[in-house]
Each structure stands twice: as C-alpha cells, then as structure tokens.
C-alpha cells in the first residue's frame, strides 16, 4: 500500500533497523568495558572450552550483562507501550499497575530475611514471587469486567502498599549497611549478574512478550475507545488479563534481576510512536527494541563514565528521562495551543 505522511516508517524497514541497532549495542556492550578484551580470542577460547581469562571475562561478566541489558530493556519498552495502549494514556508506564514495586518488595524481603545470603538466586526469585503475588491480588481484587479506571486505582493502592512495606524494611534494617545495600539494589544495575540470572528470567520474559504481542490488534482497535473496540470483536476483559499477565511476567522478572530501572518504559514508546504511524499495536515490538537499545546504551555510559563507584543504571535512566519528560510537557503544551 502506498505510504502516506502520517503512516510512519514501513515496518519491513523499521523492525530490521531497530533489531540491528539492538544487536550493535549488544556487541558494543560485549566489546567495551573496564579492561580491554580481545574479543576474538575470548570467543575462540569460550567455544573451545578453554578457561582462559578473556573467555571467563566474556562468559561470566560481559555476556550476561549484555544479554540482561537487552532482555530487561526489551521488557520495559514493550510493557511501557502495552500499558500506554491499554490505558490510552501517554503517561502510563510499566509500573503503573504496581507490579514493579511488588517485585522490588519481593526482592527486598529476600534481602531482609537473609535468604539472599544463603540461597544463590533468592533475590530474583523473591522478586518474581512478589510480582506474581501482586498480579494474583490484582486479578482477585478486580475480577472480570473491571474497568481500566479501577485497574489504575488498584495499581495506585498496590504501589503505595509495596512502597510503604519496602520503606518499613529499610526502617527496621538490622544495621545501616543492610539498609544501604537494599537502597543500592533498588537503584537498579546490570553489574555482577550471571548467566543463571539470564536463564531464570528468559522463559518468563519470552512468555510475557508473547502475551503482550498477542494484544496488538486489540490495542489498535482501542484507539477508538473501549466501546468501538468491543464492537470490533475484542473481549476487553481478556485483553486486560493478557496485558497485565504479560507485563507482570516481563517487568516482574526484569525488576527481580536488575532492580528498578525507571523511565525506559515511559520514554521509549514516545520516541518511537511517530515512526510506527502512532499505531499502538506496531509500537509494542518497536518499543521492545528501543528499550533494549536505551538500556544497553545507558549501561555502557555507566561503565565508560569516569565516575567511581559505578553509577547505578536506574539513576542514569532517570537522569536522561526526566529532562525528556519536560520536553514532552512543552510539546503537549504547544500542541494544546
């Protein structure tokens, strides 16, 4: 079909470009770091099974970091686009229904109980448990036929509860170091994660992505309001269930392994929306790639910036994201005139 000015970039062009950008950023993430790494030798050694230093750095440090950056970024970007599409509000973000803060609370609980010191993956498992529990509470609280407004209100309640419980854990921390450790973890980081983290979250994220991607046509229809979407044959209750379930799986596991990385899910859909002709369905996968690029870039910035101790990833994304939001406000104001 012929392309019109408002139609954005053709998906057959846009998706490969975004995919390649993600690959390029992941490759850069492998190649660049604190120490020079002979990538060719590292790969050769790793494939041959030789436990040389370059191979160890690649497999134990660089590869999990790059993979997690891409996975977490994709999850945050896609969930952000999904929530904005569902709420029909450009200010919605992945954490709006309270899943992220519940995941953070779950991880903090694992910290606080001392489990994380004894069990290897207690932290991410605690985070995932928190996210799943929150999703269950949401579904039970809301029941079938709940409106989007009820969903937002339940999210506000869940967010403030999880926030308060996290603050309580900090308040009652046995010593200042434990509190500091929790605070640092909450700021979000990709440092010092292993391949076991990758294997833990990969299936959950994939399931979440598929669930969210399956709602693409319904999100398009929702552009014209809930009534019109329903008249086009979409079951809104089932749509909400898939989106919340998908976002919980993807974002819950993202927060569980990396802590809170804010603004990615809010900012990325805005940047890419014009490129997909403002179609909320097409925006899902595009935002996933965009999120991956942004998180990988921010993580590279964290590593390459001459600031020690290393800046936290969540801090950097928020520092980039906040001015962007101001820009968005300015643009919305101009459009309103």
């Amino acid at each position: 079909m012929r392309q019109l000015p408002g139609a954005g970039v053709r998906p057959v062009v846009l998706m490969p470009v975004l995919g390649l950008a993600t690959l390029a950023m992941a490759a850069a993430s492998l190649a660049l770091g604190y120490a020079a790494l002979p990538l060719g030798q590292a790969f050769a050694d790793a494939i041959a099974g030789r436990a040389s230093l370059p191979a160890l750095v690649l497999m134990e440090l660089r590869l999990p970091r790059a993979l997690l950056g891409a996975l977490v970024g994709f999850s945050l970007g896609m969930a952000g686009a999904a929530m904005q599409g569902l709420m029909r509000n450009p200010l919605a973000e992945p954490g709006i229904v309270g899943i992220s803060s519940a995941a953070a609370l779950g991880a903090v609980t694992a910290f606080y109980s001392g489990l994380s010191a004894t069990v290897a993956l207690a932290l991410p498992l605690g985070g995932i448990a928190g996210a799943l529990l929150a999703t269950l509470v949401l579904f039970v609280l809301l029941g079938p036929g709940a409106s989007t407004m009820t969903l937002i209100l339940a999210g506000v309640a869940l967010n403030s509860f999880a926030g308060a419980a996290t603050a309580l854990a900090l308040n009652l921390a046995p010593n200042p170091y434990a509190a500091l450790e929790i605070v640092f973890w909450l700021m979000g980081s990709l440092a010092d994660r292993s391949m076991s983290h990758v294997w833990l979250v990969l299936p959950l994220m994939l399931a979440g992505w598929l669930l969210m991607a399956s709602t693409a046509p319904a999100l398009d229809a929702l552009s014209l309001g809930e009534e019109t979407a329903a008249s086009l044959g979409f079951d809104l209750t089932w749509l909400r269930a898939r989106l919340i379930g998908g976002a919980a799986l993807a974002v819950g596991s993202a927060v569980a392994v990396t802590g809170a990385i804010g603004f990615v899910g809010l900012v990325v859909p805005h940047l890419l929306r014009p490129l997909v002709g403002h179609r909320p369905g097409r925006l899902l996968v595009a935002s996933g790639f965009g999120g991956a690029v942004l998180v990988l870039a921010a993580d590279l910035g964290v590593r390459l910036a001459p600031v020690r101790p290393e800046l936290k990833l969540g801090v950097v994304t928020a520092l980039i994201g906040a001015p962007f939001l101001f820009g968005l406000v300015q643009r919305l104001r101009r459009e309103a005139l």
Binding site: L4, P5, G6, A216, A221, E227, G233, F234, H278
Partner: protein, 266 residues
C-alpha cells in the same frame, strides 16, 4: 434475515432503563430510533450491538444468538458507530478506517485485497479519500464524523447501528450523512440510527421506533408514529406541520406541560 430483539430488559445502576423492548431490523431499511433524552435509545443500540448483555430477553442475528456466532463473527455482521468520536493516538485517517477490517483479519494476518477494497470503498462513499494521510485532530467536526462513519462502513457488515451520527453537525452535514445512510441501506444493509431531529427522522427513515422511559411506545411508518398525541405525551411538545413536494415535515414549536405521566418505566 433480520436482527430481532425480544423482551429486552436492562437495568443500569438499579434503574430500569429498558423494559420488555421488542424490535426488528430488516436488511435494506433505515430504522430511526427516537425518544427523549434518557429514553433508553443508546442502551437499546448497545444491546443490539452485543456490547451490553440484557438482564432479560434475547437478540437474534439472522436466527443466531451472539454466543452462537462468537465475538468475531458478530463483529463482522454488525457494525457499531459510537457517539463519541475521539481517537486516542493521531493515527492517519486511512489507518483509522482500516481498523474496521480487524474482525476480518486473522491474528497477525496482513491486509488482504478485500480489506484494501473495503477501505477504499468506504472512504470513497464518505468522500474522505483526499484526507487519507491526515489525522483526526486536524479535521473539522464534519470531516471527522465522515471518517468515523467510513470506519464503521469498512466493516462491510450486514447491519449498521449508528448512535446519534448527526450530533454536532451543521444542517448541510446532517442531510449529507442521512443521504449516505440511505445509500448504504440501498446496498442491502440494515441501518438503525438514533436520531433527535424528528423532522429528519420522519423524512429519511423507512420506519421509526419511538421509545420513552424504556418502553416501546410505537413502531411503524414515521407519519403514524409521530402523531400529535404521541409528540405531546412523549416529548412534551406541540409541532407545526407542513409539506414540501408532497413530503410532510414537522417542526417542534412549543413545550406543553402535560408531559406523559402515564408510562412508568418498570
């Protein structure tokens, strides 16, 4: 072949909105649904569109219930034009009209030849081909309504249910919209349309359904339904009547106090 609703009862928030409403919509006819504000017109239309499950009664689409048809098949058979017409995102006009094809598309299926043809037809019928690349926010009210009508027509459904498609339109656009609906009906589509302008309803509809406080008051030819007694009783107005080229018209002139207290909703 028809949409047949029988004994529809709906209560919303504890208030009885529709009581034992019966109606039928035949292919090829324009059925006007008229009544004062709050009479239950929109509720009836939503029940017919399968958007609202009635507390009692049944709706059959060419003999089948909505459950037997399934959501997608129902969406292909019945197009619904909602009253409020805002798009959340600035999609192009062509993309918006294309949304009407979603019930026809397999999940993640690409646009087919038939989809493209239906979109082009709908846009041509509504005279918006020149606006294809614009967005709804940049259009005038009249153009915007044409886009939304084209979206509903792109569904290529056997029935079109339109909720107050004339609201907010100037007289020229009102006449144009009704002519368009007549063209659609002439193509074999059954059109049910909620209208407030009694004069236009009488002129452009084959049949009128008059409802008041959730009850069906009358159903039949416009001239029979809109008699002086019904207008006084239901709308509380007296009307002036006239004729132009043999076509009768009426003009609401004055309110009268004796608004019907004889019909109680439940």
């Amino acid at each position: 072949m028809a949409i047949v609703a029988q004994g529809i009862c709906v209560s919303l928030g504890g208030r009885c909105v529709l009581t034992a409403a019966d109606m039928a919509l035949q292919p090829g006819e324009v059925l006007g649904i008229v009544g004062p504000n709050g009479a239950g017109k929109t509720t009836l239309l939503r029940v017919l569109a399968g958007l609202l499950r009635p507390d009692q009664g049944s709706v059959r689409y060419d003999g089948s219930t909505a459950r037997e048809l399934g959501r997608r098949a129902l969406a292909r058979r019945v197009a619904f034009l909602a009253q409020d017409g805002a798009a959340t995102w600035p999609l192009s006009v062509e993309a918006l009209v294309g949304l009407g094809r979603l019930p026809h598309r397999p999940p993640f299926g690409a646009e087919s030849e038939a989809d493209r043809a239906a979109v082009a037809n709908a846009m041509a019928l509504c005279d918006i081909a020149a606006l294809a690349g614009r967005t709804l926010g940049t259009l005038s009210g009249g153009e915007g309504r044409r886009v939304l009508l084209a979206r509903a027509l792109a569904v290529d459904a056997a029935y079109l249910l339109a909720d107050e498609p004339l609201a907010g339109l100037d007289p020229g656009h009102q006449l144009e919209t009704l002519k368009r609906l007549r063209t659609v009906a002439a193509g074999g589509v059954g059109v049910a349309v909620v209208l407030h302008d009694l004069s236009l309803a009488a002129r452009f509809c084959d049949r009128l359904l008059l409802i008041h406080r959730g009850l069906r008051i009358a159903n039949g030819a416009p001239g029979d339904v809109l008699d002086d007694a019904a207008l006084a009783d239901v709308f509380g107005v007296s009307v002036l009547r006239g004729q132009r080229d043999g076509v009768p018209f009426l003009l609401p002139w004055q309110t009268i106090d004796a608004r019907g207290s004889t019909h109680d909703g439940c």
